[in-house]
Amino acid sequence: MARKLPEVNAGSMADIAFLLLVFFLVTTTMDVDTGLIRKLPPPVDPNQKPPDIKERNIMKILVNNRDRLLVNNKEGSLYTLKDEVKDFMSIHLDNESYPGITVKNIKLLGNVPTSKGIVSLKNDRGTSYKMYIQVQNELARAFKELKDELSMDKFGRKYDKLIKEEQIKAIDEAVPMRISEAEPENIGGRN
């Protein structure tokens, strides 16, 4: 019978593994990219006339180069913006000072009144990006709360807890996130 092979010393295995471990520890970047996902509108044809939208259906939000807000021609604040948007986009039947209502027939929901309101956001070239994100975030919060409310009402759970694809779709259709971003202007002089 052949001689037994001498056993390989495995004691340094741990050290080698440690070395590799340290390397990967150092090079790891675990951050998942998160953010506000938006869809840009396709470029507009300059010859095309802008669609005719009633004054009452538009909520105008302006941000100037000093990061101050003007909401429907009145000075606004980030702290109240979410509630203002929410109030504007909620359903107010037969109220002339709020946007018009159309009744849509949506699968799973039946006939639902939906607001015709549009939030128009316009910023100056000198507006800071931080402010812009904060405004976008407040808008998103307002719409999310509206969706949550409808979803609670219809399906008994919050919007982001919905699992069925068609339920999510139905809510999305009933509460469309209509934010229109105007072409920016250079109101405040040079940026």
Binding site: F24, T28, L40
Partner: protein
């Protein structure tokens, strides 16, 4: 008495370290799997703003990044906000080409899903960002993501 004595003469048994490599290997594999090697080194500062209503970007391979911010090396490049594509400074007019090359490098059926993630420093003025957005609209890269960090609301 004799009972206690018995125990003493054995001493503490040495803890077996033979499973240590296995534990370390397990850790190693975990980090190997989760590691994403940093693809771009940024030459502009990108301190991201915070937002609460954020979503995760699903597929990392289908995201192309545009960095905007003031250069790290202010002494050489000044402190005006600049755009960084790949590894170098770029002008707004370079964006279409960048998007086309990003599309080229993806599979045909995945091109529609391509997202452009804007990593923008929070003190940047919207002027530059708007120019970039307009450029993206022109080339049909409509899906964008304003990269932000998570903020908890009280």
């Amino acid at each position: 008495m004799s009972r206690f004595k018995k125990k003493k003469d054995g001493g503490l048994p040495a803890i077996s370290t033979s499973s240590l490599p296995d534990i370390i290997f397990m850790l190693l594999f975990f980090f190997m799997v989760t590691t994403v090697m940093r693809e771009n080194t940024t030459i502009v500062k990108t301190r991201l703003p915070q937002a609460s209503e954020i979503q995760k970007l699903e597929k990392k391979s289908l995201v192309s990044y545009i960095y905007i911010g003031e250069p790290r090396n202010i002494k050489t490049y000044g402190n005006e906000s600049r755009i960084q594509l790949n590894d170098q400074f770029a002008a707004v007019s370079d964006i279409p080409e960048f998007i086309f090359s990003e599309r080229e490098s993806r599979d045909e059926n995945e091109r529609k899903l391509l997202t452009t993630s804007l990593k923008v420093d929070y003190i940047t003025k919207m002027g530059v960002v708007t120019d970039v957005k307009q450029e993206l609209r022109k080339v049909g890269a409509f899906k964008i993501n304003y990269s932000t960090r998570k903020k908890a609301y009280k």
